[in-house]
Each structure stands twice: as C-alpha cells, then as structure tokens.
C-alpha cells in the first residue's frame, strides 16, 4: 500500500515537472466569472478570462490610446456620424470559421439585439452596421460618439463565431467560440476554467503558453498561500495588507497600477421621501461632510497608503481630471461653521455599507473623522445585493459604493451624473452639467472634451451628489519565474510576450 502511494506521489511529481516545461500558466482569480459570452457577461472577473479567450476590434495601450487588433485602421467621417473600419485578413475563429466584415457585422448586431445582451447601452450610438466589402465595415451612428471606440476595446468589441452563436444562441456561454490566442477547453463552476493555445491565431508567435488555467479562489489568504506554495503562477487583486508579505518573499514579484475606477459614496439628493434630509437637501451640509474627511489618512489606515487618493470620477493622473478642482484639504472648523449655518450643528445620518471587511473599515474611518466635526454618521451594514436594490428604489440616505471604471471618461461620468441616466441613482439633475456631458460625448476633439468635463466637474463637485474618495490599485502578485508581464490600468492580464522561465 505504501509503495503504491509513493508511486502515486512520484507520478504526480512527474506530471508536475512535465507541466512546467509545457508552459502551463495558472492564474488565481478573486471570484468565479459569470457567463462566458462577451455579449452577455456582466462581471469584472469574467473580463480577465475574455482577454485570453476573445480578440476584439481595438484595444487600449498603457496610455489609454486606442490601438489596432482585429481592426487595423479606422476613420471617422467629417460629421462624426460614420466610423469606417478596415479589418485584419487571415483571422479565424476557434471553430475554423473565417473572420470577415460579415462576421463583424453579425457580432455588433448580436450585441445590439440579443435579448440577453448587456452591451446594448454601451454601443447604443450605433444605428446600423454595413459590410462595405469583405474586409471593411461601416458603423452608422445616431449621433457623433467619442466614447464608442473605447467601448469596442472591451466586451462590446469582442468577436464570437457567427456559426456557433447562431447554433447555440444564448447558450454560447457554456461553450464560447471566439478568435483569441487561447481557446476554450472546459469549465468546472467554482473550480477552474481551462484554455489551450489556439494554433491558428493570427499573432501566435507572441503567445507562449500551451495551456492557461483560471482558478477562482475567493479567500485572499488562501489565494496567496497557493501562489507561495507554487500551485499558482500569478494572482489578481492581492489585498493591500498582503503587499509586505509579497515584497518579503524572494520568489514573488508585485505589480501595482492605478485602476480606471473609483470608490465613493452616493447621496440621495432627489425628491423621493428618503432624500428629504439635511444631507439630501442642503449642499452646505454635504460640503461640511466632505471637509470633515481626510482622504490621505483613510488611505493610510485602511490600505497602508497603497491606493491613490482622489476627488473626481477619474484619477488625478488621468488627462480628463479637472485641474481646477484639486483634492480638498480637511477643514474641521469650516465644516462645523457650515453645519451651524445650515441649522444642523448635531447632524446625524445613515450610510449603507456593503458588509465586507474592507468596506466596513473604510466606513469606520469615515465615521471617526466625521465625529470630530460633530457629525454622527451611522453605519448600516448591508449585503451587496440588498444595497443595490436600496439604491435603485432610492431607499437610502447615503451609500458607500464604487465603480470598476471605463477607459473613456464618459463611462465614469455620464452614466451617473446625467439627468435620468441609467445609474443616476442619486437623482442628481443639473441642466448645465447635462449640456456639458452631452457635448463632451458628441465631439471627437480631445481639448474640447477636456474643457466640457472640467466645466461639468466645477458644477457637480460643488453640488456633491457623489463624494469621491480614492482609486483602487490593481495589485498582481506573481512568481519570479513569470517574465514579461506588465499590469494594465484596466486590470486585465494581457499575455502577449509573457512566458515562464
């Protein structure tokens, strides 16, 4: 019995050694992805898988510049209402189908019309798509749309095999057929997603892994333990509190990059019953709340100073950051004065907080700082699904929540701050802001867009329907054997030129 057992261990060790030579990359994910169909998927974590599985029309580079993938070049018409794209030759889907203009047209139309599609609002600017010739498509827009191209750098621009999509419909999610560098092998829910090298990939020389396995391991400590003991080669979303441990480990490397998203708290400022509080009604009270906060201290206490402090929907390093509105300094005396002027020297209000450790800590630090300004902020700890429901029903006073971020500023701003926008859950409405946000969306001139976003920011940051706090950094830890990996600001793992040594 014993000899049989040691034989098994020996066999296991051999397989393991073999796997190392065959370039098998194992990535630890913080959650289990949802549907593996780029048009139906909803989660951030799923996008990590799509980056290896599905190719897209265009991509972003390290400076958020739009660069070619399946579309090699593109141009916008004089009136801004048509976008013409030349497509790459010699691209095939994982099932051997050819990628051409008809396939691209099919995909964009699927993203716009499939009932289960979650991409509709992202590319709503597209009215119709024409296949001009075999390798040229024309997007006819309802109105000029500067954020459109950036939407095509993500799931809305990913191409699935038309043949498979027609056969499987919405069930494509169980057997995705894309055109990316790796193709789908199997998925065991809550356990693993396995991809293998796609031999006919148009850019295959830059991809070195024979197999890529994504393993969802929600417990951050266990995820790190797996990396330390060699069962993983890399992991995403390391806890800021584990940075020291990774830096101290000679076998591990760390990479950090400021995300495109933000963390904030929303304030119900509309006309619903729960907005009828001093916090919801009086901008002076909201200013006092912001002045009682020291964002730097918050960052130090909860995140070891690792995240990026901010006060706007985009990080201070972003080209669209409104420079006229820098991060305000804490001023407790002024906060007290404002509260007195507003007639609520002993302000008390509720904040709903998702019941995970980190969010709770953030809320507690905010609570402590507000108390020094005489504000009694009550934490209502709540489970995430319920928090979302309260927001959509406007059944909240303030709500601690974040946004994972989009490459174009429009995706961080318009959807939350424009009157009646899908996620305008604060019920904020200002005609001037609407005007600037719409104008920024319909012009392609970067300087003009910056101007509009700055004008809008000067208004909504004074009205404070949302108080922005910080920008998460994407933290990746990986084995020192992994070479060539560079963290991207959208949090994705791009495997181009990455290999195990």
């Amino acid at each position: 019995m014993r000899s049989r057992f040691s034989l098994l261990i020996g066999a296991a060790a051999l397989t393991f050694a073999g796997a190392a030579q065959a370039q098998h990359l194992r990535i630890g994910l913080a959650e289990d992805p949802d549907l593996l169909d780029p048009h139906q998927a909803r989660t951030f974590v799923g996008r990590l898988v799509f980056t290896a599985l599905c190719d897209k029309l265009v991509d972003i580079d390290a400076n958020l510049k739009i660069v070619p993938r399946l579309a090699t070049e593109w141009s916008v018409s004089e009136d801004g209402k048509t976008v013409t794209m030349k497509l790459r030759h010699g691209v095939t889907f994982h099932d051997g189908e050819k990628f051409d203009a008809a396939a691209a047209k099919f995909n964009l139309e699927r993203a716009l019309t499939l009932p289960e599609s979650r991409r509709k609002s992202e590319i709503a600017a597209i009215a119709t798509v024409d296949a001009v010739d075999d390798y040229t498509i024309r997007l006819n827009l309802k109105e000029p749309s500067s954020p459109l191209l950036s939407q095509l750098t993500d799931r809305a621009g990913m191409m699935v095999s038309p043949k498979a999509a027609k056969e499987l419909g919405a069930n494509l999610a169980n057997k995705p057929v894309c055109s990316g560098p790796f193709k789908f092998v199997e998925r065991v829910q809550n356990d693993r997603i396995v991809l293998e090298r796609f031999a006919n990939y148009w850019d295959k020389d830059k991809y070195h892994f024979d197999k890529v396995t994504f393993q969802p391991i929600p417990d951050a400590t266990v995820r790190l333990a797996n990396l330390q003991s060699g069962q993983l080669d890399m992991l995403e979303r390391l806890l800021p509190t584990d940075i020291a441990a990774v830096k101290a480990d000679k076998r591990l490397n760390l990479q950090a990059i400021t995300s495109l998203g933000y963390a904030s708290f929303s304030i119900n400022v509309g006309n619903t019953p729960r907005a009828n509080t001093p916090v919801g009604k009086d901008p002076r009270v909201r200013e006092a709340i912001e002045l009682s906060i020291d964002r730097e201290i918050l960052n130090q206490v909860v995140f070891n100073g690792e995240f990026t402090v901010g006060n706007q929907p985009v990080a201070p390093t972003n080209p669209f950051y409104a420079k006229t509105m820098p991060v305000p300094k804490r001023d407790v005396a002024k906060a007290k004065e404002l509260l007195k002027a507003a007639g609520v020297p002993n302000l008390s209000f509720e904040m709903q907080v998702p019941n995970d450790t980190q969010q709770t800590q953030v809320a507690q630090v905010l609570q402590g700082m507000m108390r020094e300004a005489g504000i009694d902020m009550k934490i209502v700890s709540i489970e995430f699904a319920t928090a979302l429901q309260n927001q959509t029903k406007r059944d909240y006073v303030t709500s601690l929540i974040g946004w994972s971020g989009r490459p174009d500023p429009d995706g961080n701003i318009h959807v939350f701050l424009h009157t009646g926008a899908p996620l305008d859950e604060t019920d904020y409405s200002n005609a001037d802001v609407d005007k600037h946000l719409d104008a920024a969306r319909t012009t392609y001139d970067v300087a003009k867009r910056q101007e509009h976003y700055t004008k809008a920011a000067e208004q909504y940051l004074k009205d404070r329907p949302i108080i922005y706090l910080y920008h998460v950094k994407w933290l990746f830890a990986h084995s020192t054997k992994l070479a060539g990996f560079k963290a991207s600001t959208d949090g994705m793992i791009r495997l181009e030129n990455v290999k195990l040594q």
Binding site: T15, D34, R42, V188, N190, Q215, I217, N226, S229
Partner: protein, 313 residues
C-alpha cells in the same frame, strides 16, 4: 418492520414538498432583488426589465413556485441564473465531490472519535480520560476556517507537502485527489470526532454501569470482550443516530471548509447561489440535500435493527 419503513418513506414525500415551499418562500423574503444581483454594474432599467421577464421574476411568487415544481416533477430543475448551466448538471458535478469529502471526514471522525471515546470511558478519570477530553473540547472549539488556514500555512506554504487548495478528480489522478482532500477532510473530521468522542464516552459510561455488564464480568469474561462485544454494541445506538445526522450535515456541504480549501462542492455552490439570489440553484441543491437527509435517517433506523437484536420484533 417493512411496513414501518414503507410508512416512513411515504411520509418523506410530503416532507420534501413542504421543505421546497419553505425554502422558496424564505428566498423571496430575503431582501435583494435577484435581477439586480444578476446585473450588478449593468443594472440599467431596460436590462432590469428584460431579466425580470426572462426569468419570470415579474410573476407572483406562487406562480413562480408552481412553474418550478411543475418542471421539477418532470425532472427539469431549471438552469442557473448566473451561468445558464442546468442545475441538474451542477448537482451531478458537485455531488461526487461533496460525497467524497463527507465520507473521508466521517471515516476520520469515526477512527478518532470512537476509540478515544471508549478509552476515556474505560479509563475514567485517568490521565487518558482528561487528555481525550481536553483534545475533544479543543476540537469542538477551534473554528474550522482557522484550523484550515493554519494547516495550509504549515503543510503547503512552509513545508510544501500538500497543495494549498483546489480539487482534482480521483479519476484524473487518485494521488493528487487524496493530497488535495486530506486537509479539508481532517479539518471537518476533527470537529466531528470531538462530538463523536464525547457521545461515545457518555454512552459507554452508562452502559458499563448496567447490570448485564456486571453479569458478563461476573461470568469471568475478559475485559476486552466485555467492552467491545457487550457494552459497545448497545452504546452504538446513540452514536449511529449522531453519525447519520452528521453525515447528513456533511452532505449538505461544508460551507466554511469548502470556502477555505476552494473545494467545488455543495457548500460553495449554495453559498454563492444565495448571495447571487440564484433561486433555481438554491432550490435544486436543497431538494437533493433534504432527500439525502431523510434517507440517511431512515438508514440509521434500519441500522438499529442490525446492531440491536432486541428491536427485531
């Protein structure tokens, strides 16, 4: 005897029916809209309406239940809201994992719990008794997730002997499978062993004091025979009951242990499903575990007849 069991089986059906109604009702009492839980950041009003319609969430709860039970009776448990995978497939995928973990944990619990229980009863108030009690009490008090993380840090990170977490199918590689399962099975088994040990000790003590044991000793039987043949057999009845209940619990999934060791079994499946308000998955898993629970209790009752001849009327 058979009439009794058939009667019990007949009761099982309405019990299961009531269980499904209660679970369905409780899920709908939970705050948190399943359509919103599903949509997350993509929760535009248009998408929200589409999801509510697609999954019949816009219909009254009794109608939703009727649709579910109607399909379930024809063997269709529906599909996961989150991943579109058929619930029956998910259960078929997770059940073997959970069964293996449950059986391994139970084996560990029995191997540790019963011998130490007997030992501490026979050597009452000795060093062994106290040592076993202290161990038992700590086994019961230590939280499983803490013990799990400590074992991972020691055996995986420090010594590199076992994989930190994850699961390998036994049909793929039995050695890897056992290496992956031994720590979670031990963590679960240790906690159960503690309870098992205390019950064995208690049952043995009361049996050892009884008249027939005194008679057996008076007959001059050796102590080993008295303890193992005469006393233990009677003492086993409450232990079997306990074991069946524990096994039922194990089969409904070990939530914390599966989470820590990332074992893709029932526990993780149902917890994720509850958080995502994935109704179909919760209902399906509860139906299966409730059935298992009822069957195990029935099985325990049958075992009494085997170990205790007096019950065979």
């Amino acid at each position: 005897m058979w009439g009794y069991f058939l009667g019990r089986l007949a009761i099982a059906i309405p019990t299961l029916f009531i269980v499904t109604i209660i679970v369905f009702g409780l899920q709908h009492l939970l705050p948190g809209d399943p359509a919103l839980a599903l949509l997350g950041e993509d929760r535009s009003p248009e998408a929200y309406e589409q999801v509510r319609k697609q999954y019949h969430l816009d219909k009254p709860v009794p109608v939703q239940y009727a649709m579910w039970i109607g399909n379930a009776l024809t063997g269709d448990l529906g599909a996961s809201l989150r991943t579109k995978k058929p619930v029956a497939d998910l259960i078929a995928e997770k059940l073997p994992v959970t069964v293996q973990l449950a059986l391994m944990s139970m084996a560990i619990a029995l191997l540790i719990g019963i011998p130490t229980g007997i030992l501490s009863a026979v050597r009452r108030n000795s060093f062994w008794d106290y040592a076993a009690n202290v161990l038992g009490l700590s086994g019961q008090s230590v939280p499983t997730f803490w013990l799990g993380i400590m074992l991972i840090l020691l055996f995986s990170v420090r010594w590199g002997l076992l994989p930190a977490s994850g699961y390998v199918s036994p049909f793929e590689n039995l050695g890897d499978n056992l290496r992956a399962m031994i720590m979670p099975a031990f963590v679960l088994g240790a906690a159960l062993a503690a309870v098992m040990m205390r019950h064995t000790r208690g049952a043995m003590l009361s049996v050892l004091r009884s008249d027939y044991v005194r008679t057996a000793r008076a007959k001059g039987l050796n102590e080993r025979r008295v303890v193992l043949r005469h006393a233990l057999r009677n003492a086993l009845i409450p232990i079997i009951t306990l074991g069946a209940l524990q096994l039922g619990q194990l089969l409904s999934g070990a939530v914390l242990t599966e989470q820590v060791f990332t074992i893709p079994g029932f526990g993780k499946l149902i917890v994720d499903a509850v958080f995502n308000r994935d109704y179909a998955v919760v209902q399906g898993v509860v139906l299966v575990t409730a059935t298992a629970y009822i069957m195990l209790n029935l099985l325990a009752d049958m075992t009494y007849f085997l170990v205790n001849p007096r019950l065979r009327g």
